[in-house]
Amino acid sequence: MASEKWPEAGKRSLIGKRFTRLDGPWKSSGRAKYTYDVKRDGMLHGKLVFSPYAHAKIVSIDTSGVEKMPGVKAIHVITGAGKEVQYQGHEILAIAAETEEQARDAARAVKIEFEQLPHFVVDAPPEKAGERARPLAEQTTGNPDEGFKAAEVISEGTYGSPVITHCCLESHGQVAEWEGDNLRVWASTQNVSGISNEISEGLKNSGVEVPASNVQILTPVMGGGFGSKFGADTWGVACAALAKKAGRPVKMMLERDQELMAAGSRPSIYAKVRVGAKKDGTLTAWWSESWGTGGFGPGGGNPILPYIFTRVPNRRSHHTRVETNTGPARAWRAPNHPQMCVITMSAMEDLAAKLEMDPLDFFLKNLEFVVPERAEAYRQELLKGAEMIDWKKKWHPRGDKTPGPVKRGLGLSLHTWGGGGHPSNCNCTIRPDGSVEVFLGSQDLGTGTRTVIAIVAAETLGLPLNAVKVNIGDSKYPPSGASGGSTTVGGVSASTRRATTKALNELLERVAPTLGAEPDKLEAKDGTIRVIDDPSKNIPWKQACAKLGATPINASGQRVPRGADELISSGVGGIQMAEVSVDTETGIVKIEKMVAVQDCGLIINQKTAESQVFGALIMGVTYALYEEKLMDEATGRVLNADMEFYKLAGIGDVGNFAVHFMSGPGYDERGPIGLGEPPVVSPGAAISNAVANAIGARVPTIPITPDKVLAALEQKGGAA
C-alpha cells in the first residue's frame, strides 16, 4: 500500500517546486467573483447605521419615516433603545433597500436619540487611564533583583506599537439568500465551515429558526482577512434577517470607514523595559511593565515578555490592559507577536549598543536563552541572513558617520510562531474516467491554499497538477477549520494527503491483478500505476481508473482530530535583517533591503511560499513606518477611517527583498508548517533596530514617522 508519509526529497514530483496559483488567471482577469461581486436576482442592498459617538446610550430609535422612503424593504435593529454603544462605528441597525443609494439615504434618515456618556479613546498609559486600567497578574521567574545586581550593564527604555487595523481590501460583509427554509450566505470569511452555527444562533434572537445544517456558506475567493474575519458578525446575522424579512436576497458590505472603525484592530502594546547583561553580553535579568488597549471588551492580549529569549533566568513582567471606547481587537496576523517582538528586540539591541557589541554577536551569544529546540536553527538562520545582507561588512556601530544627511543602518530581529494544523477533513473522489476531485470546507485567503491542496493531491496520485479539481469555499464540503494561526496548510495538507492516499490504495487494489503484483508493490507516478521495482510494468492512470466499472472511489482523510499528527508539526523560527536609509534632515525612512530566513518544514509550493514572505515583509514595512489608527479624545472619533490617512505602503515604498527557506534534512520531515504569520512578526523590530543603527538613537515606538525620527535626533543632540 502507498504510504501516507511525505515522499523523500528525491521522490517528490511536485511538492516543493514552483507553481503559479490555480486561481491566478481567474483573479488577474477580473473574472473572479468575490462576495462583494455577487449579484442575485432581486437582490437588495443593505447598509448599517452605526454610532457616531464613542460612548452613548441609545434613548430611542425612530424609523417610522424611513420605512416609507423609496426602495426601503426591511429594517433590522441590532442594538436597541436602552442599550449602550461603546465606540464610534458600533452597529445599531441595518436597512435593506432596492439600491445602495436608497439604503444609504435611509440609513442617514433614521432618527436616533443618544444620551452621550463619558468616553475614553486614547492609547494612554495606566497612570492616565484611571479605572479603565485593568492590571493583570505579575509574572516573576528567578530573582530579578539579584539578576540586575549581577548585571554589569543595564539598559532601560520605553518601546511600543500602537493600535493598527486590518484594512482588508474586500471589506467585511456578505450576501444572504433564502430558499424556503434554507439560507445561503456568500461571506467574505476566513471560516467557511464555522460560521453557519453562529448565524443560526444569531437568527434565533430575531425569531428566525434555521438549523445550522440549513445554512450554507460560500466563499470561492475572498479579499483578505488577516485575522479579522473569523466570525459571522452582527452584520452577518442582520443581513440574513433582512433577507428573511424582505423575502429577497440582500448584500451588505461594510463601507471603508465602518471597516476601519469597527471590524478589526490590533491591540497596542507599550512597555517600560529594563534589561541587564554581563560585559560579555550574557543576559542576566529582564523587567518590563507593559500596557496596551484592545479597544472595547476583553480583547488585547497579555504579552509574554521577553519574546524569544524566554529563558532569561531572572525576569519580572507585568501587564495592564486599558479598556477604551474603540473598536474591539481582533486577531491580527500573529496576534501579539509583532508587538512583543518590537519591544523585546528594541530593548535587546539598545543593550547591545550600550555594550558596544555587534547585535549579531549579541543575539548569537544569547541563543542559550531561547527554547533549546530552536537555538541551533536560529544560529544557522542568523548566519545565513548575515551572509545574505553582508552584515559583517555593512554593519557599523550606532550612528552612521559618513557625510551627508542620509544615513544607513542595519537591524535584525528573531521571531517564532506555532503553526500546526487546524481540524480538517477531505474527501477524494476518483471517477472511472480518471478524473479526480477533492472537497474541503476550507478557504483560500490569497495564501495559495487551493494550489497547495492540488499539489498534495496530485503528488499523491502521481498526476499533473491540472488533473485534480479542488473544491473549497463551501460549508457543504467536509469541515475544515478557520484559516488562522498559520494552521491551514498543516490541516489541509494532512487531510488531503490521507484522503488521496486512501483513495489511491483502493485503486491500487483494483489494478494489482492486471499488473500481476501485490498492491503494496505498486505506486502512482507520472500518470501511471506501476510496479515499484519494475516501472516498465505500468498502466496509464485512465486505464487504471477504468477498472472501477461504474462506481467511483470515495475516500476521506482527516487531520488527526486532537493532538499530534505525524504528517505535520508546530513551531518555527525565523530571523530578518533590514537595511534602511534615513534622511536625518526630514526624518524620512526608506527601506533599502530586507532579508528573511525562515523555517517552515516541508515547503509545498516554493513560489507561493516566497510570496507569503514577501507579503509579510511588505505588511511589516507598512506597520513599521506608516500605520496607526488615530483616535481623537475630544470627539471620540477615528480621525483616519479612510485610506488616505490610514496609510499603507505603495509599490515604491518597499525596498528589495530576499528570502531563504531553511529546508532539506532536519526540516522537511517535519511536514508542512504554516507561513502566514511568522514572517510578519519581525519587520517592525528589524526596521526599528536598523533606524537606531543608522541615526544613533532609538525611535521608541513604531510607526517610525518623520516627527519621531526628528525628535529622537534632537533628543540625542543632532545628526547621527
Binding site: 524620512i588 475630544a634 488616505e644 490617512f645 505602503a649 505603495g650 514617522t705
Partner: protein, 346 residues
C-alpha cells in the same frame, strides 16, 4: 452622497448662470477627485452639480509672447507633460508631476487643484471648515494636529488651522500667475497670491471665489521667463500621500547672484505661505549650501507650531533649502523618468 441635479455647461457664461449665488447649493465639478469624496462624506451636499467638462475654452495650454495660458480644466498630467511648462517652468511641471498617482494626475485639473478643500480630518469628519466643537471652540489646537498649520493660524483662538493642500499654488505664486475668473458681472483678474484667504468664520471660504464664479484660466506672464525654479516636496511615502511640507522657489539670477527671489511654502499654513524674510535675505547672494540653509532658517522664523507638529518647522526649513539648491543645480534634459528621479532627490 445625496442626490443632486447634474448640469453640464457648454460655455463659461452658461456655467456661471447655472451656479447659485449661495455657497453650498451648487458645486463645480471639474476632475471630481476631491468633490466626489466630499459629497460621499456629506461634507458638501449640493442640490446641483455643474460640470465644466463640456466647456472647450477651459482646456488647453498656449504659449504666446505675452505669457503662458493654462486652461483651468487642464489636467495635472497635461500640465506636467506640456513642453512649454517643462521647458520654462520647472517648478510647476514638477509640482504637477509629483502627485504620486497616475489616476489623480489624469483626472485632477489645475482649477480643481487650486480650489480643493482642506484635507483636515476634522473638516472631513463633519466638524466644519474651522473644525469646532459644539461650543464653537477649535478642536485642532488640543487635538491631533500633526498635519496642521505651523504658520498663519490663530494660535488657540477659533479660526483656520488646516493647511492648504494645493500642489500647484506655491509654484504659481512664485511665477506671478494671474487667475482669470468669470462671474455674473463679467471677468476679473486676481493675482494668485491674493486668491487664497484665511477664513475667520465658519461661513467663510478659503479663497476669494464667489459661489457663482469660475476660474477659467491661469496666466503666467512672460516676465516670469528665464527664472531658475524648483519645487521640493517632503513626502513620507512615494505612493499616493500628501506632502508634509513643500517649497517652491523662483530665482532671477545675475551671474551666480540672486537678483530677486520668490519663495512660497505649501502645506504649512491655511494659505500658501510666502517666505518674505528669506526672499529678502537672498538678494545679492549666490546660492550655496550655507546660504540656502540660512534661507531655510529665515523662512521658518516666526513659525508657531502646534503641540503636535513641531517637526514640520524642520521640514519646511529643509524644503526651502533643497528647493533653492535644486533651482540652481545643473539640469539634465527633461525626460519624464529623469524628472521623477530628480524630484526624489531634490
Amino acid at each position: 452622497m445625496n442626490s443632486f441635479e447634474y448640469a453640464i455647461a457648454t460655455t463659461i457664461q452658461e456655467a456661471v448662470e447655472m451656479l447659485s449665488t449661495h455657497r453650498g447649493e451648487t458645486e463645480i465639478l471639474a476632475g471630481g477627485t476631491d468633490l466626489l469624496s466630499l459629497m460621499k462624506n456629506f461634507v458638501v451636499t449640493p442640490k446641483r452639480v455643474v460640470s465644466l467638462k463640456g466647456i472647450r475654452e477651459l482646456r488647453g495650454i498656449t504659449a504666446s509672447p505675452e505669457g503662458l495660458r493654462i486652461g483651468s480644466m487642464v489636467t495635472l498630467e497635461e500640465l506636467h507633460e506640456h513642453p512649454a511648462v517643462h521647458g520654462e517652468y520647472h517648478s510647476l511641471a514638477h509640482a504637477a508631476g509629483s502627485v504620486p498617482s497616475l489616476q489623480i494626475r489624469n483626472m485632477g485639473t489645475v482649477g480643481g487643484d487650486l480650489c480643493q478643500r482642506p484635507r483636515c480630518w476634522y473638516f472631513r469628519n463633519g466638524f466644519g471648515l474651522l473644525a469646532t466643537d459644539e461650543k464653537d471652540q477649535p478642536l485642532v489646537p488640543a487635538g491631533d494636529n500633526r498635519y496642521h498649520a505651523i504658520f498663519g493660524h490663530p494660535g488657540g483662538r477659533p479660526g483656520a488651522y488646516y493647511v492648504h493642500a494645493s500642489s500647484l499654488a506655491p509654484a504659481l505664486i512664485t511665477l506671478g500667475a494671474l487667475l482669470k475668473i468669470s462671474g455674473p458681472r463679467g471677468n476679473r483678474d486676481v493675482p494668485i497670491a491674493k486668491f487664497f484667504i484665511r477664513p475667520t468664520k465658519a461661513s467663510e471660504h478659503e479663497n476669494v471665489l464667489l459661489a457663482n464664479e469660475i476660474i477659467t484660466e491661469i496666466f503666467i506672464p512672460a516676465e516670469s521667463k528665464g527664472l531658475r525654479t524648483a519645487t521640493y516636496e517632503v513626502r513620507q511615502k512615494e505612493a499616493l500621500d500628501w506632502p508634509l511640507a513643500t517649497a517652491s522657489v523662483a530665482l532671477r539670477m545675475t551671474g551666480n547672484k540672486v537678483k530677486t527671489a520668490q519663495i512660497v511654502l505649501g502645506h504649512v499654513a491655511p494659505v500658501p505661505w510666502p517666505a518674505l524674510d528669506a526672499e529678502r535675505d537672498l538678494v545679492g547672494q549666490p546660492i550655496t549650501e550655507i546660504i540656502a540653509s540660512r534661507a531655510g532658517e529665515s523662512a521658518v522664523r516666526g513659525a508657531r507650531p502646534l503641540n503636535g507638529n513641531k517637526y514640520k518647522v524642520q521640514l519646511a526649513r529643509v524644503a526651502v533649502k533643497r528647493a533653492l539648491l535644486a533651482a540652481v543645480a545643473e539640469r539634465k534634459p527633461m525626460a519624464f523618468a529623469q524628472d521623477k528621479e530628480g524630484m526624489r532627490h531634490g
